[in-house]
Subunit: 128 residues, 6 copies
Amino acid sequence: MSQPLARHERGEAMFKHVFGREPRPGSYPDFLKLTIDHLFGEIWTRPHLSVEERELIALTAVALARTDWELRGHIGAALHLGMPREKIVEIIIQLAYYGGWPVANNGLRIAQEVFAELDTGKDTDHDQ
Amino acid sequence: MSQPLARHERGEAMFKHVFGREPRPGSYPDFLKLTIDHLFGEIWTRPHLSVEERELIALTAVALARTDWELRGHIGAALHLGMPREKIVEIIIQLAYYGGWPVANNGLRIAQEVFAELDTGKDTDHDQ
Amino acid sequence: MSQPLARHERGEAMFKHVFGREPRPGSYPDFLKLTIDHLFGEIWTRPHLSVEERELIALTAVALARTDWELRGHIGAALHLGMPREKIVEIIIQLAYYGGWPVANNGLRIAQEVFAELDTGKDTDHDQ
Amino acid sequence: MSQPLARHERGEAMFKHVFGREPRPGSYPDFLKLTIDHLFGEIWTRPHLSVEERELIALTAVALARTDWELRGHIGAALHLGMPREKIVEIIIQLAYYGGWPVANNGLRIAQEVFAELDTGKDTDHDQ
Amino acid sequence: MSQPLARHERGEAMFKHVFGREPRPGSYPDFLKLTIDHLFGEIWTRPHLSVEERELIALTAVALARTDWELRGHIGAALHLGMPREKIVEIIIQLAYYGGWPVANNGLRIAQEVFAELDTGKDTDHDQ
Amino acid sequence: MSQPLARHERGEAMFKHVFGREPRPGSYPDFLKLTIDHLFGEIWTRPHLSVEERELIALTAVALARTDWELRGHIGAALHLGMPREKIVEIIIQLAYYGGWPVANNGLRIAQEVFAELDTGKDTDHDQ
């Protein structure tokens, strides 16, 4: 692994590349630091997977976890990285078969909310 | 959806494309038919995701499910579709962060067994 | 499997038998079609399990998944199929032991909301 | 709840009714006592669900949990209670849709082992 | 196990010790009785683990289950038993590594709500 | 976070403190480095939780995950840190109520294997 300052800068840059905005300070500076410096600065920057593939994996994992708040954030990230809506929907449809219908119903419900907010101009961005 | 015969043929072709072999008859003809005709014939053939992306999603879901027998099968499929070993390992490392260290430890243990068998010439293919 | 038109008609009939209403169009016609034509038209119509038993299994799985929106839908379906409230509650109590107290607490909280809405006349039906 | 001796007797009787044999002493007398006296003596004996329905719920939950050892035990219990093999297989096929293909593949693999052992005369019974 | 009246009294006392209040009657007297008399009266009172350790385990399990309503209740219990906020946050941070970032993000979001309500004087107690 | 060399040394020391031996090289040097340098060097060394409490949380999470190989490793770690067998068993019994009977049955089966191997002198240590 690497020097602290470089790791933090790489993490902030990667976070912005994925989510399209700066990370929000939030209430837990320690956990934010682990998220930005380590998860985004040292894991998302690793080789062998593109950023788009890492987002595909993250979106799949968060949809399977059914944590709605974070799923909204990762649907937003996928869109920001250029993933078409049809592709996001298709990932969730595949998860009807690899996680079960409840996972897909939940994911499509959240995706529909995110898309509707974007279409009507509401702010849907979330911290990682 | 489509006519039965075309769906079955498409499913067999897709299964072979993913796993590199014919499906084995197995003990449950009804479930095999659902797997080949519907899952591979009507879902894996859908647009908006490439076959490689569908395998990435399936591999992620099965690693998170920690069903070792099926994970072996999907690691084999990923290799057959041309995914380098480093990339399979990298997906599992990302899941240490999106599913937890137990998911990654389990996935890497299974990946190591599959790679070792391939290196020593043992037969590792499994039915989907 | 069967011809498309017959499958769609069987699926719509089975959906209505389970939920007591027509499926809503929703935002994802592809997934609705998979749900109606395949899940309800070709799986729920299979032999060896009665519709009531299939609903018992679905309700159990959705309660274990803790996807509240869909659990509301399946509690409604169970009631529509003639399952007494005491039986729905009893299934969830058994899941305190087969899924843990968090699963049961969550399921009873949702059941209480559904029952209260029915008692006060509010509309609680949901798409599958 | 009830007096200790009656609860223990009811639990042993219910366990035997479900599994077709006496509980084995095992290594953890405290947990065995909780299982026999409370789970089987006070929960499985509750009203509103038949024993067959309770076994259907338990089998569903254990198949979704993918704990193979216990799944073998509950497949044995289901058979002992008179559930045909086709019905056990059908429950697992439904879980391909309510838990995902990995859950069903795993469950059918275990079911096949249990049925094969019964057909060749090996002893497959397990403690709860 | 023990006589009904003593068990109920022990359960109520233990519940109060953990949550800092009486259990609410709720809608399901049977399940409340199982929770108070058995879970708190016969399991939480067992030896080999302190009450604080049992709360640590319960909080960990509920955070991993991502059942937000119950997680709020157990964060309240942990605070009532004297666990500092930093320690509750630290448990959830460890679960980023043993359950995944979605578990930790969800847990910290709920913890932040509970702490904010306490700081502004709102009532955050919940039934177990 | 800190300088690479200090982090690695702290991680090795913490790993040895928890598991009672050196980490094995294994097949995946990158993931081993993340485990030793980051998980053990930067997370297990954090304040607000003792090492024994962190092991309690890890053991709970791994038992709930039902990843048997890693559960064996953490039962070994708990014993090495001085946790009595009765306490390990008691944690798993509590998880019958917070994760379900299948989690507890699986955990006790694994614990019994680890204890039996220790009693007969077999080597049960595993890499994290």
